[in-house]
């Protein structure tokens, strides 16, 4: 381990531990542990949502997908960014105004159904697991590159997976939503700064975006493949024009036209069903604040993804030349092309900043993985601790007991994710998937967008939605999406396979349709008008705003009094 690696790791630990200690929960209440007291301001929450959302899949995976597939890889970035448009238009403000602990609790209470709550918990846990595993994989890859040594007889990859997951699990269990919020906010700012630094270094070195895309597009796109015990460069086929070679700057290296739309719809609709992101909205003080927060998020992640796409292009353009000058690139590349595309950003960091640059990018990658893991573990804790334990197993549980169950569940979920991440080594999947980390995250988006988003949207916007309808939507959306993306692995490359791999285009309309049909055939829910007044009215918002104004005025008056004395 180099001195830089040690300094980097210590810096990451000091930052997350320091923030966690400063912002530790003051009370052992569930509102404080799961919702940070519902007093998180717009800027803090938008940074925290970005930290939560911009995972290893966004930091390592988007640049990797662009690196390996050119313009087609950028569809990941478009889909991830698009997701917050439906959130803003259809979900953020009404969801916050109803003010529950989690998506499962929102659906359960709105539809007055324990069955809906428990089925939602099942779907949410599936989403969390699919999302957690690639984050742990990201932690393992980063440790492997940064440190290169294992501890306690473990491989470097396994050590990275276990350490990054364990550290964040302990911090979440101790810090709850308040500590996690500040950690995620600080982590996003560090992540953003690292990407900006890399973009500045690459640009200062003479990188010209348009010229790079032009020169990369003048030759067929080639990527390394592990065949018969050795690595070879193979030419990518064009999925839009069969028989033609794929090129970097045009569509077709990965997806046909149907595949592009299917991927963007899967990622775009999935965000509104991601439990760790949606749970953050419950921490906003009002529905209007939740909506404003989403606008900030849209702007910030737009800048982030535009930079990530640029860096994927820069890596493709710069690394072949750098491989001739830097001997350390030999074992990572094949004829100047990276074997593992997720190495694109760390390698750029090392080229421009040597060990310190690698340390900075690796720290950012670790931070990206850890901040998302934190959100996922907290969402898992909320569903087990609140939706299952407090609601069903021990309804008389004290606040303290519920919080402790939440803490224990974070450790169990972290253990399961780390175990599965160790079983799934990324090299085994590259280059069959454009980026393992991004592909696995797509599965989480597929389940969320196919099962949870249709039900959540109908529950907010259609009075007639019933518990039976919601169950039909949840079960059909989850089942169809899982069958489709698992079946895609057994199909040859074709438009059908692209559709099956990103199944929300089929599964979500089906879930919408079934929810509506079953709801129409079952008895309409009672008390829906009262729910409507809460979700679509602004009385609670105005009350909260008035209280906040009074508090601010009182603080100002006391300050002036002190000055006068």
């Amino acid at each position: 381990m180099t001195t830089t690696a040690i300094i980097t790791l210590i810096a990451v630990l000091v930052i997350v531990l320091g923030v966690s200690v400063i912002t530790r929960p003051r009370h052992s209440s569930t509102v404080d542990f799961y919702l940070a007291g519902q007093r998180v301001g717009v800027a803090t929450n938008s940074w925290a949502i970005c930290g939560d959302y911009l995972s290893a899949a966004s930091f390592l995976g988007v640049a990797a997908a662009v690196y390996v597939s050119g313009l087609d890889g950028a569809w990941y970035a478009v889909g991830f960014a698009a997701g917050f448009v439906p959130v803003l238009l259809l979900v953020a403000a009404p969801l916050r105004r109803y003010g529950e602990f989690s998506l499962a609790d929102f659906l359960g209470r709105r539809l007055r159904s324990d069955a809906v709550r428990l089925h939602s918990v099942g779907v949410i846990q599936l989403v969390i697991l699919c999302y957690l595993i690639p984050q742990s994989v990201g932690g393992g890859i980063t440790w492997e590159l940064l440190v290169g040594h294992g501890l306690f007889g473990l491989s470097p990859y396994s050590t990275g997976v276990l350490l990054s997951t364990a550290v964040i699990a302990v911090l979440v269990a101790a810090g709850g939503m308040r500590g996690t919020t500040w950690n995620q906010a600080v982590q996003f700012l560090l992540l953003f700064a690292a990407l900006l630094w890399l973009a500045a270094m690459v640009s200062a070195d003479g990188f010209r975006y348009g010229e790079a895309v032009e020169s990369l597009s003048n030759q067929p796109l080639m990527n390394p493949e592990f065949l018969d015990g050795s690595w070879e460069l193979t030419q990518e086929q064009n999925a839009v024009d069969p028989g033609q070679a794929a090129v970097f700057g045009e569509p077709g290296a990965r997806y046909g036209q149907l595949g592009q739309v299917a991927l963007v719809v899967t990622l775009g609709l999935g965000t509104a069903g991601l439990p760790h992101v949606m749970n953050r909205y419950f921490t906003a003080p009002t529905g209007k604040a939740a909506r404003t927060t989403t606008v900030w998020v849209l702007v910030l992640i737009g800048i982030f993804y535009a930079l990530a796409v640029m860096m994927g292009t820069a890596a493709r353009d710069i690394i072949p030349g750098a491989a001739r000058e830097h001997p350390w690139l030999e074992e990572l590349t094949e004829d100047g092309v990276l074997r593992v595309p997720e190495h694109a950003l760390p390698v750029l960091g090392r080229i421009y900043g040597e060990e310190a640059g690698l340390g900075l990018i690796a720290a950012a990658a670790l931070i990206a993985a850890m901040s998302t893991v934190a959100g996922l573990l907290l969402a898992s804790a909320a569903t087990w601790g609140h939706d299952v334990y407090e609601r069903h197993i021990n309804p008389r549980a004290t606040q303290r007991q519920a919080v402790w169950v939440g803490r224990a569940s974070t450790l169990i979920a972290a253990g399961a994710a780390a175990g599965l991440a160790i079983a799934l080594r990324p090299e085994a999947f590259t280059p069959a998937m454009p980026s393992l980390v991004a592909t696995m995250v797509t599965w989480a988006f597929a389940i969320a967008g196919s099962a949870l988003t249709p039900v959540v949207v109908l529950t907010i916007w259609w009075r007639r939605t019933t518990a039976a309808g919601a169950l039909a939507g949840l079960i059909s959306g989850a089942t169809v999406s899982i069958i489709m993306f698992l079946s895609a692995s057994f199909l040859e490359a074709s438009p059908l396979r692209e559709l099956m791999a990103a199944p929300t285009l089929i599964a979500a309309p089906l879930a919408f349709l079934l929810t509506i049909l079953v709801s129409l055939r079952t008895r309409p829910p009672s008390e829906v008008e009262a729910d409507w007044v809460i979700m679509h009215g602004t009385a609670a918002d105005r009350h909260a705003e008035r209280l906040a104004q009074l508090t601010l005025r009182e603080r100002r008056r006391r300050k002036e009094d002190r000055r006068a004395r």
């Binding site: 803090t44 569509p251 409507w532 705003e545």
Partner: protein, 116 residues
């Protein structure tokens, strides 16, 4: 932990007011959602019908297609978000809580960028 409507007369919304605001909000959300879908669906359509989309060069020597995916769509998403949020908040403030707002004498303390 459902927040019930506040019981003081200044902050309560009536079901009729809420229903009217809900219908307007639904129209706003659907309109912008359709704009969003059209923007996203336009890319493959333009790529397959217009050679200019991938062959010509615009800002920074990038093709319109690459420029759209690399930068343009994020700008459009942010613009949709800002426009929709502004309109939704305006609808709410005009259609709900007229009585309560008369007593409010300051900006929304939660919409300022300050931390919690």
């Amino acid at each position: 932990m459902t927040h019930s409507p506040q019981e003081d007369g200044q902050t309560r919304d009536t079901p009729a007011e809420v229903d009217a605001a809900f219908r307007t909000q639904r129209r706003v959300a659907l309109t912008y959602f359709i704009v969003f879908l059209v923007v996203v669906a336009a890319f493959p359509l333009l790529a397959s019908t217009l050679d200019w989309w991938l062959d010509s060069r615009l800002i920074g020597e990038l093709s319109p297609g690459f420029l759209t995916v690399a930068v343009g769509l994020y700008v459009v998403f942010a613009a949709i978000g800002i426009a929709a949020a502004t309109l939704s908040s305006s609808v709410e403030s005009q259609m709900l809580g007229a009585q309560g707002n008369q007593n409010s004498d300051g900006p929304d303390p939660y919409s300022s960028p300050g931390p919690s």
